[in-house]
């Protein structure tokens, strides 16, 4: 179903049925059943935590193969600013962008530039009074999905502006279509992504019917080849592909989006479990003095994305150097978001109440009562051996009819011991009469 397209998928033959992934999933979307992990599609937010923790690399992010480029007449690369953090100081932004042309792209447009436009619009929006504060960034699609399934009360806090990726795709397409007189459908725009969630947001966008992005390539697939291609480009190479200033480049790391807003009334949180903590504070009105929250699913922000290559902390240092350079070049960005109305989402987001036990509240209450009862009888070790992440989630699965109490090895042992006792009792009653 297109409704539930996910980039994060399981390679069953590699899965050994261990419980690493179920314990780390922030929406409890994974179960191990019959010795293999299964992803509950309705719950998955494509954060990629499971990709990171799987010791057997059985979880992967589906991205597009390079061959999809051949379907288009004019091809444009949209590198996420995260890409700049993947290389050391000998690789300037000019070299990286020029290197990308070596993949067969006709042009490169920096997503970092679009990020600056988004920041510009955000600055204007948080100044107005008709938005729910704190405004929560919608740049990270995993976070947006998290809100959609777990924090319905925060939907109205979401910044309903298209992501830098979408804005970049739109600008790139329009620019080329106008300049070269090529019809839009012949122009392919390809995002070079640090994460799985971006793939999902292209294939199954939440905020509008169709994405402007034609395909998504994994940063991992590009990395080594790009290094090769950059070798032939001189270190002091200069080109006009660079269009973003320091703010846009900084977006790749945690705190970058906040920085660009130039206000102290902002908060940056990264790592999906930290994000959940902050969201709980917002829901309970505990977060004061903050107008804007930048929330990124990965540790260190996009630099820690599951499709990146370099350690996120190393990448941060690399990025710092790129930001410094961008400042030195003194790029002043013109105010292109003066009218941000056309950047707004065209479709509102709906709450997906995937956690509820039943559509009928009375029935849900009866199930909850049963759930509590079962949960009280479970050992409370949260060992995961049953295939559910916690004892409570096993109780939930049982109530939903998806698991049995004896999936718990402690419960099973009790039952076996009971059976043994019963057999012993039977043996006593029906002792065979022997002649002796």
């Amino acid at each position: 179903m297109t409704n539930y397209f996910h980039s994060v998928t399981l390679e069953e033959e590699k899965c050994r049925g261990c419980t690493n992934c179920i314990k780390h999933c922030p929406t409890e979307a994974i179960r191990v059943r019959k010795g293999k992990a299964t992803i509950i599609k309705e719950r998955c937010i494509d954060c990629g935590e499971c990709i990171r923790v799987c010791p057997y690399h059985a979880k992967k992010a589906v991205t597009d193969p390079f061959s999809v480029m051949s379907e288009y007449h004019f091809k444009i690369a949209l590198p996420a600013p995260t890409l700049y953090g993947q290389f050391g100081q000998e690789f300037s932004r000019e070299r990286i962008l020029r290197g990308l042309l070596g993949f067969g792209f006709d042009w490169v447009f920096e997503v970092a530039r679009a990020a600056e436009i988004v920041s510009d619009a955000t600055r204007q929006i948080i100044k107005t009074d008709n938005v729910k504060k704190p405004v929560i960034s919608s740049a990270c699609p995993a976070v947006v999905r998290l809100i959609q399934v777990r924090f319905p009360n925060l939907i109205k806090n979401l910044l309903k502006i298209e992501s830098p990726m979408e804005v970049a795709a739109r600008i790139a397409k329009h620019t080329i279509s106008k300049e070269k007189n090529i019809p839009s459908n012949k122009i392919g725009v390809f995002f070079i992504s640090p994460c799985a969630a971006k793939v999902t947001s292209v294939k199954a966008p939440y905020e509008k019917k169709e994405s402007f992005v034609s395909g998504v390539f994994s940063m991992k697939d590009i990395h080594i080849k790009l290094l090769e291609k950059m070798k032939n480009i001189p270190q002091d190479y200069d080109c006009d592909l660079v269009s973003s200033g320091a703010y846009g480049v900084g977006w790749a790391g945690s705190g970058g989006e906040c920085n660009a807003l130039e206000t102290s009334r902002s908060l940056a949180v990264h790592g999906i479990h930290n994000v959940i903590d902050i969201f709980e504070e917002i829901v309970e009105d505990r977060l004061n003095d903050v107008d804007f929250v930048e929330a990124l699913s990965c540790t260190e922000g996009c630099l820690g994305g599951p499709l990146t290559v370099v350690n996120p902390f190393v990448a941060r240092t690399n990025l710092k150097w790129q930001i410094g350079n961008a400042k030195k070049n003194g790029f002043s960005y013109e105010n292109t978001a003066a009218d941000y109305q056309d950047l707004l989402w065209t479709k509102d987001m709906e709450y997906k109440p995937i956690l509820k036990l039943d559509d009928n509240m009375m029935k849900a209450m009866m199930k909850m009562q049963k759930l509590e009862e079962i949960n009280d009888g479970l050992p409370g070790l949260d060992c995961g051996a049953c295939g559910s992440p916690r004892c409570r989630s096993l109780a939930e699965d049982i109530v939903r009819g998806l698991a049995f109490e004896t999936d718990c090895i402690f419960k099973l042992r009790e039952k076996v011991s009971d059976l043994a006792d019963q057999m012993k009792a039977l043996e006593h009653i029906y002792k065979p009469k022997t002649e002796d």
């Binding site: 829901v283 309970e284 009105d285 109440p353 956690l355 036990l357 559509d359 509240m361 909850m368 009562q369």
Partner: protein
């Protein structure tokens, strides 16, 4: 009519890091029941404030939550110093929280009025040296 679901939570004294655990738990519960998000929000704000009062002023206590077919009842109580002048305590901005707590961003004197605002029924019982009891009712529909 008896309640369908009953939960009890311990509220620790003076530990801010644990304040909010009970209300957060209740929020998850209500989400699983499919309760309207606005009602969930009201419940968790009211309960969090009541919890926080027990942490700051009450020397720790307990919260009992009962869910009925049509309402949630929350009973939060402590055996702390109690409130001398309830009417005054209900005033917005009135607070007896020491400076150390105000410096942490708590104790702005909005707690009780915040509970009242978010609940459908709110009863406060207290006497000096006999603790404080807060009864909150929120209707599900």
């Amino acid at each position: 009519m008896s309640s369908i679901i009953k939960k009890e939570y311990d509220i620790p004294a003076n530990d801010f890091s644990l304040a909010g655990e009970a209300s957060s738990n209740v929020r998850k519960l209500l989400t699983q029941l499919g309760v309207n998000p606005t009602i969930i929000k009201r419940t968790s704000i009211a309960m969090y404030e009541a919890e926080l009062n027990v942490v700051i002023h009450g020397n720790g206590g307990k919260a009992r939550v009962e869910i009925f077919e049509d309402k949630i009842e929350i009973f939060v109580f402590d055996e702390g110093p109690g409130i001398e002048d309830i009417e005054l305590a209900m005033k917005e901005g009135y607070s007896t929280a020491p400076d150390s707590i105000r410096e942490m961003g708590f104790g702005a004197g909005m707690g009780l009025s915040n509970i009242k605002r978010n609940s459908d029924k709110f009863v406060l019982e207290s006497e000096p040296n006999k603790g404080t009891r807060v009864y909150i009712t929120i209707y599900l529909y």
